[in-house]
Each structure stands twice: as structure tokens, then as C-alpha cells.
Symmetry: C2
Subunit: 160 residues, 2 copies
Amino acid sequence: MTTNILMSIETDIKQTSFRSPFHRLLVNLMYTNNWLCDGQMRLLKPYGITLQQYNVLRILRGQSPNPVKVSDITERMLDKMSNASRLVDKLVAKELVMRTECPRDRRACDVVITESGLALLIRIDADQQEWERTKNQTLTDDEATQLSHLLDELRQSSPE
Amino acid sequence: MTTNILMSIETDIKQTSFRSPFHRLLVNLMYTNNWLCDGQMRLLKPYGITLQQYNVLRILRGQSPNPVKVSDITERMLDKMSNASRLVDKLVAKELVMRTECPRDRRACDVVITESGLALLIRIDADQQEWERTKNQTLTDDEATQLSHLLDELRQSSPE
DNA sequence: CGTAAATAATTGTTGTTACATTAAATACAA
DNA sequence: TTGTATTTAATGTAACAACAATTATTTACG
């Protein structure tokens, strides 16, 4: 056993025992996720957009200059919810995206990122890369891949 | 390479490429966390409490019958925020916890879980264990420990 | 002692999310 | 074609969260 000065999850949330390795993992996962989201939010705050809005912008950039339907956005969002419509509202208000009625299906909406939206993303990219770089100092690429694969496996248990 | 029918994160969110293994990990972590929280929320819904309220109750049970201060609750919550006070309000309204003025420091509050709160947790425990059991079918204890350790390492990069 | 600083909790405000409902357009079967 | 079901997005509502400001109490210390 090596000397270990790791701040483990036990220290962080002042809990000394978990029911099982799996239970410890669950708590650790939520805690780490919150830690990551906090960092992301702080990064985005100066740019006046939220994490969710940022995710929508990145989905749109991924397809740009093609339009994306609101339903497609919902499908690709990390947390599925019925608010893609209102998120798009906010982004339209900031003129970061454009929403037009889809000509082929008038129920649907075509959403496209604007030049201004793309420009904002480019400004954020530098900060984002720097942030990722600092967070990425402890894990090797192999470890990151391995961790990601374990998460994939975890989600196998019940598809829903 | 073994045959692989894993639903990987790429399939789930319909994204085919990531900037780096680390970026893929970040997205996977958020996605997996949301997947877990969704499951937990669905489990708790029939009992009329939210995930956050449940976490508060478990913190209180952990110290029961000793009281816990609101500030201690905030400290131990997975997502730190200033709403512990209002969460306690909700739990008091449901008579799952009691709040009394701390005699040693009249600024502070002693919060204790009630019999009714403990009884509710016991009812939930069975469901919770069953839920964990189903989620825990794919990872061995070793893998869970390993995953948890990798998460600890990830958080090492910058303490904040 | 008396005043300033620090601490604990609550409250106000604003924005966000979850969930259900509604409205409009489309698909499709009889 | 017509009626019914389905799909797509928007909206109403209530609960929740983030953040700042406020109140009450305790502590520090000249």
C-alpha cells in the first residue's frame, strides 16, 4: 500500500462508512458530478449563459449550418427534460440562435446557431480548453477511457 | 477485442466524436449521473419526498438521536447550496423532522429526525436496496472500488 | 464594558426545472 | 374523405435552486 494523501470522498463529505463499494461509488459519482458542474458554471458565468444553454449551443454548432429540431435537442441533452423550448427562447432573446418554422412540417421548428452564437462559443473555447487541461492533470488517457467504459457498463444494468 | 454490444455514451446521446478521452469522460459522467438521479427520483416519488429531502433525512438518521445543525446539513449535502433551511421547512411540514432552538447557541438550530421520519426511511430502504441491487449487476466490487478511486483522483486536480 | 467582526439561519428575488396540459399539424386506417 | 391517434412544440403551475441581503446572536478585543 502506497502512502495516500488523496482527498477521498469520505473526507470530502465527512462520512466514514458506506454500505458497500457500490454505494460509495454512487455517492462519489454524484459528488464528483456536482464538483464538475460547479466549475463549469463558474467558467460560463462571465459569458452570461448557463450550462444548459451552453450545451444547446454546442449541439447546434455540431450540426451548423444545418438546422436542428427542438425535439432533437431534447434527445441529445444530457438531462432530458421538457424545457428545450424555453432554453431556445433564452438563446433567441440573446440572439445566439435563430428559430424558424420548419417548411416540411409546420409543427416543428428549425433552430440554427447564429454568427454571434458561434463567435461566443469560440471565445469560450479557450477557457474551456484551459479548464479541461487543469482537470485533466491527474488521469492518463488510458485511465479516462477505462473510467468512461466502466460508466458505460454501469448503465447497462437496466436500459430504461 | 471482444464482441461489444454495450450501449456506449456515443449511442446514448447520438454523438460520434469527442475531443479527447477526457472530454468523453466528462460527458459520460454527467450523463450517468443524470441517469442515476432520474432513477432515484422515480423511486422516491411515491413516498412524496424529493432526492434532496431524502439526503437530508439520511444525514439526520446517521446522527440520530443526536441533533444536527442546519450548517452541518449544508456541509454534508452533495450539492452545497443555501437552501438547507427551506428543505428543513418542508420536512418539518411533513413532520419527518423536528427543529428546535439550540440551547448552547441561540443562533443555531437543532434538527432531529422524528419517529415518523425514521419509519419512512425504513419503508424506503427496501426499495432502495432493490434498486441498488439491479444497478449493481454489472460491476464487481473491485470495479466499483476502482471506479470510485479514479473519481477521487480526478478531483485531485484542483481542490477549490 | 462596549463596539466591531464573525457566525447561523432565514428571507427575498429571480431564474430554472418537473410535470401536466394544450394547441396545432400530420399520419393513417376505415 | 373523415375521424382518431400521434407527433411537435409551447405554456401554466408549483416546487426548487442560486445568489444576495437581512436578522439575531455570539465572539473578539481594545
